[in-house]
């Protein structure tokens, strides 16, 4: 149960403790998923191995058990991702409603293939399975937000907007 101070410095400390407080103290390990999420948000959207191990120490869990979780859940990333993580749903409902076109738009606009990050580190493009919002297919998740009923042109326009220099 060490590493808490370095892992969650300053105000995050309180956030981490609030999360821990949701679970009985004999089941600290139950907090592993929300704590990994918190740690990922504080580390540029991904979980370097040292951070994964630190979460394990913090919760008294073997680091192997934490690594398993990080690789199991697709919302955790064990490699760096861009500032915008563009996740294009490709499961059947979205596909029937034109996800291919949305993906093509993103590829063209960003000049990268799924799984890649733009050289400026701004965008990472990946394909994902059902995002659970099929009623509004096709769906793209960008960081914490859902963008629904998109077509290729809208996708391109949105991405183009994020390129504006005043964002930097």
């Amino acid at each position: 149960m060490s590493g808490g101070a370095e892992l969650f410095p300053g105000p995050d400390r309180a956030a981490a403790e609030e999360i821990l407080g949701r679970y009985p103290s004999v089941h600290r390990q139950s907090a592993v998923l929300p704590l990994l999420d918190l740690a990922q948000r504080r580390n540029g959207g991904w979980l370097p191995p040292a951070v994964v191990d630190a979460v394990g120490d913090y919760l008294d869990m073997p680091s192997m058990r934490v690594r398993e979780l990080v690789t199991f859940y697709s919302m955790f990333h064990d490699r760096p991702v861009g500032r915008y993580l563009v996740q294009v749903c490709r499961t059947t409902p979205c596909w029937l409603r034109g996800s291919d076109e949305v993906l093509a738009g993103a590829r063209e606009e960003l000049g990268i293939a799924p799984g890649e990050t733009t050289p400026d580190g701004r965008f990472t493009l990946i394909e994902v399975e059902c995002l659970g919002a099929c009623a509004d297919a096709p769906v793209v998740q960008i960081n914490d937000d859902y963008h629904e009923r998109l077509d290729g042109e809208q996708m391109r326009a949105w991405l183009r907007d994020q390129r504006r220099p005043e964002d930097d």
Binding site: P62, S63, M64, R65, R67, E68, T71, F72
Partner: protein, 682 residues
Amino acid sequence: MPKLSIDGTEIEVVEGTTVLRACEQAGVEIPRFCFHERLSIAGNCRMCLVEQVGVPKPLASCAMPVTDGMQILTRSERVQAAREGVMEFLLVNHPLDCPICDQGGECDLQDQALYYGRVRSRYREAKRAVTDKDFGPLVKTVMTRCIHCTRCVRFMDEVAGVPELGTMGRGEDMEIVAALDGCLHSELSGNIVDLCPVGALTSKPYAFAARPWELSHTESVDVLDAAGSAIRIDSRDGRVLRVLPRVNEEINEEWIGDRARYAVDGLVVRRLDRPWLRADGAFRPVTWETALAAVATALQAAAPERTAALTGDLAGLEGMTALADLMRARGVDSVDCRQDGGAFGPGEPASWRFNASIAGIDRADAVLLIGTNPRREAPVINARFRKRWRAAGIPIARVGPVTDLTYPVTELGAEPVVLAELAQGSHPFAEVLGQARYPLIVVGSGALARPDGAVVLGLARQLADTVGAAGAAWNGFSVLQRSAARAGGLELGIVPADGGLDASGMQAAAREGRLDFLYLLGADEIDPEAFRDTFTVYQGHHADRGARHADVLLPGAAYTEQEATYVNTEGRPQQARPAHPPPGNARPDWKIFVALARELGSPLSYESLDGLRSRIEAAVPHLADIDQLPPPPPPPLAPFGDPDGALDAAPFEEIVPDYYRTCPISRASATMAACARAVADA
């Protein structure tokens, strides 16, 4: 108690029983891959599907508790179809490489595909391939064959307590990985080879050595530590190819340590396979006649009080008895079985036995370890401590150096003075033991081999009284031996008679020129430098340390080559059986003594194994009760040791610095050397 019907037969089971177990109790076999009775339930392979009448989907019987009135079908068409379906999915990515797979012939996947699978494959697409992993010198991986049952992961996590294996990724991308390449840091790692239901994990040293149907099986007992684990020796053409555990619930359950399993390649190197005689500083091979004549001449020339015999850590009861009889018939008092000088109370069996019994650990509710590292001295016993801790979270404390035992230990320090405080009841942990119903006090053999060993023994014994551990119903005073020969030698009373020399006395006498003749029966754990100028006969299977300054080398048999009885740390006699005859001109130990006695003109009173065993039974009757715990000495427990003596200030030390190399066989093993290197590198 819930009642259910299985294929129409009514059966009543204990509350909480799973459907799979209930089926087993009803004599119905359920195929499975991920389920293992000694591991937690994972429920991930789906091979155990059965049908419950009235429930739309088949259920995973390994994870489903029985409820009253369930009607289970295990032979319906739906179950057959479900099994075929599961098999088909498992085989989608499983390579068809059985002809080059070491698991072939003893593979659960092969067998179950035969019984429950479809006749031919409908799969035409590409199969996945997975990079092999480096699990070190013992476990070979062919990860494309893995079916992700996670038995290996659960074993390392739960039983071994070394959570170094894990699953990475999910679905089709899932892989089993190790935390570090090159080594699993567990003394029990070889067990995952047995657990793996397919050929993903196989034995590296045994790779491509044999097919299971070519092997002869010999049921025997491991002697490379003092636990007495049940083993099966697999051999072919006079060579041991592998050792596997057998189930013995009272000792090793179904695990064995890596040394027991993998040191056997050391059986074929550096062997003594013919007698040798030293002449003008160099050894030359001689016949048995010449060698025995030379030994007899030297023995006859030496006065009994200038003659001694020392038995080693792998000696069986038969060899030790015959040697002791031969020596005592000549009036020799200096006979000892304690190379390390362990201070056991002679004549007090409770002072050298693990009185609580190994299965008794399952009852212990507070444990104190004194100067012992059970993880290195007896890994299967350590696994039992861990199992008990997992089940009941009992307090476990230690007086001794800090090491990772795979369960939490309250460290009381390595200074022996702590033991004195405990014995007087002034230490807080004495109270914890005192409040326990089944307090267990485990004394390591290393702690008793210190110069103040008798004091350590006496204080531990006193502590047993202080905390009420030595009652009539429960005797928690337990010595953890690490040599398979020690308890047996002590039961037989192989200790110097009054006025005789013990092991260190022999060394001192030899240095001072007061020892003319010394017989070493596989005694390799003692510094032979002192015996430079003494006429020394070394009888053993490996020309190890004890042979260094010997004048005659007599080839004896290893534990896989002779009928021999061993007594484990509990005092339980067990039988080792030969998988094949000893190599070359080597002979079973006891036969050599019979021949030598004849050569001396005073034959022993027995000439056959039966005769010798009757002689042992007459002396110590319980030694004939093979596999039985010894009768406990009548209560109250006698005092032993020297609780009032002076303790050394020196802290307790680690006595097994290298788990992998502790005896002539493991020191000769290339596999064990590779393990020691891998641990050092990691």
